[in-house]
Symmetry: C2
Subunit: 320 residues, 2 copies
């Protein structure tokens, strides 16, 4: 099975469009990995890049990106609303298919080592790749930001996992890590009663005692004239989409609210959809083949999960 | 509104039936509180007593119980399979109706103070009543048991919350605390496939990413010839019965399994049932009155929640 990872490097330039394009050119000229999209934010002065591909090719692309950011970005001259400690601030690896979390951790270590050795940049491993408990959360590592890191990194407790224990004068430092894929998922509720929609959000979200890997809240969509339960699914294997959809429909029934549709924001792995379609195929006693085509997945999602504004370009595997 | 608490004192005698009866007589002769049941376990050498009633009357009854246990039980001569540190080992308060957790904490402190002052017994506050983080869990306090407590209690870190910092020579020490009501609830699945039933348990239980306050597992009932999802509901307000029942039915649908019935083991507060009936009344657009009679609750539970072997004697409020 082909190994596919997603990487979402964030680099610290979001205002100078020419500079952003010069940086992005090393990605655009790379045919070995797929650029899904990139978004430059002027307020944050930061650009978020979404890439997918083979993990070894990904490492090459990220080394090229590091090299060009080292040349183009000087953090001593950088300001923006988003906290940052490096020219590339953070690089998360996300397992997409054919690859385990633990393998992604290995790849993140290979990249971290290369960045440290090649460019003399301090690298911290975070999230699933973290080697110390207080490096799991990125903000803990990043506290003090570029400016504070000059002193912080001299403290033996904050010795980087790779590279020198000395802040790079213009690049700063970078966090490399591994996290699970996150699905941004919204369910439409045919009501303008945000309070009741909040009840449904509370019923399913982990922080209120609901499903552990669900973050959820209510939102009223002015232009559509109805509410949504808006969610992040942090682990679609343990909290599959169908279970969330069916539970919200069940809750909405008590007020007679219609739940006509739902949407995916950004990308979703085919695997997450196939797992949910399997449920409905079971209910309807239909023959299920987990190797179903992307077209069949799209059709099933529209029919059973009531996805709107949905097509194959929302499915990561389409780009592979 | 009348304040009702449940208390479940555990005392360290479960073999000598005459002694158990002498101890229980102070409860049986008390008309101010309701004895729901008591179970003496010979292997554990321990008796678990379930009481409900007014919290102030409860404190009087528990003082009487402490007094008689002090007279009847000598821990230097006690052995049994269950860990214990006192003649009465633990006294949890559980809010039932008209009373908040925080008020129960106050009552638990009143009792703890009285036991300490009157009988010179060291008292530790645990669970919701704990004043230190490592006193939340009873086993942490009890570690070392009666025998080890002689030294442990001299450590300033283990100074008791009330009473002397000295183990009582024959009684030992006691933990007094507050916890939420726990509902033991089982859902019947018309299959003998324990593996699939385990899938449903995993879908809903907190430890697998499901609902936070649900403990669940599969069980095959030899004499009935089908499986159950067997559960504890640790917080019925955040994880109401109807939501669990409907979610399990939804999951079972994928295999076409029938979910004909469910059962409550032990007692359930009326409030927990009324909250769930409210859902079904909503779905059916029926007028809902939360002051419904116990008979109406029983009827609704049989109709909507498919309770079997259920009558008013399963409802705590019936005894009040």
């Amino acid at each position: 099975m082909v190994k596919i990872v997603e990487c979402v490097p964030n680099f610290s330039e979001g205002r100078d469009q020419k500079k952003v394009e010069r940086i992005m050119s090393v990605i655009k000229n790379n045919n070995e990995i797929k650029l899904v999209n990139y978004e430059a934010d002027a307020d944050y002065n930061r650009t978020v890049v979404t890439l997918i591909g083979d993990p070894e090719k990904m490492i090459d692309a990220l080394m090229d990106l590091t090299s060009v950011c080292l040349k183009e970005i000087d953090l001593t001259k950088h300001s923006g609303e988003h906290a940052r400690m490096g020219a590339i601030d953070v690089i998360p690896f996300i397992p997409i298919s054919g690859i385990k979390m633990s393998e992604c951790v290995e790849y993140s270590e290979i990249l971290a080592n290369k960045i440290g050795e090649t460019f003399n940049i301090p690298v911290f491993l975070y999230a699933e790749a973290a080697k110390q408990e207080d490096r799991v959360k990125l903000p803990t590592i990043r506290k003090g930001e570029f400016e504070g890191m000059e002193e912080k990194i001299k403290n033996p407790h904050w010795k980087p996992d790779f590279g020198p224990a000395k802040r790079h004068p213009s690049f700063g430092s970078v966090a490399v890590g591994v996290r699970d894929f996150l699905i941004a998922y919204n369910i439409d509720i045919e009501t303008d009663d945000e309070k009741k929609t909040n009840q449904f959000a509370r019923a399913i979200r982990g922080s209120s005692g609901g499903f552990q890997y669900i973050q959820a809240g209510p939102v009223y969509l002015e232009n559509r004239g109805h509410t949504q339960v808006t969610m992040n699914i942090l682990n679609y294997k343990k909290n599959p989409i169908y279970r969330i959809f069916e539970t919200v429909k069940m809750e909405a029934k008590r007020y007679g609210f219609n739940v006509p549709s739902a949407e995916i924001v950004g990308l979703v792995p085919k695997d997450a959809l196939v797992r949910s379609l399997r449920y409905y195929y079971g209910v309807e006693n239909k023959i299920f083949d987990k190797e179903m085509s992307i077209d069949e997945v799209v059709e099933g999602c529209i029919k059973y999960l009531k996805f709107r504004d949905f097509d194959q370009t929302k499915i990561i595997d389409y780009f592979l």
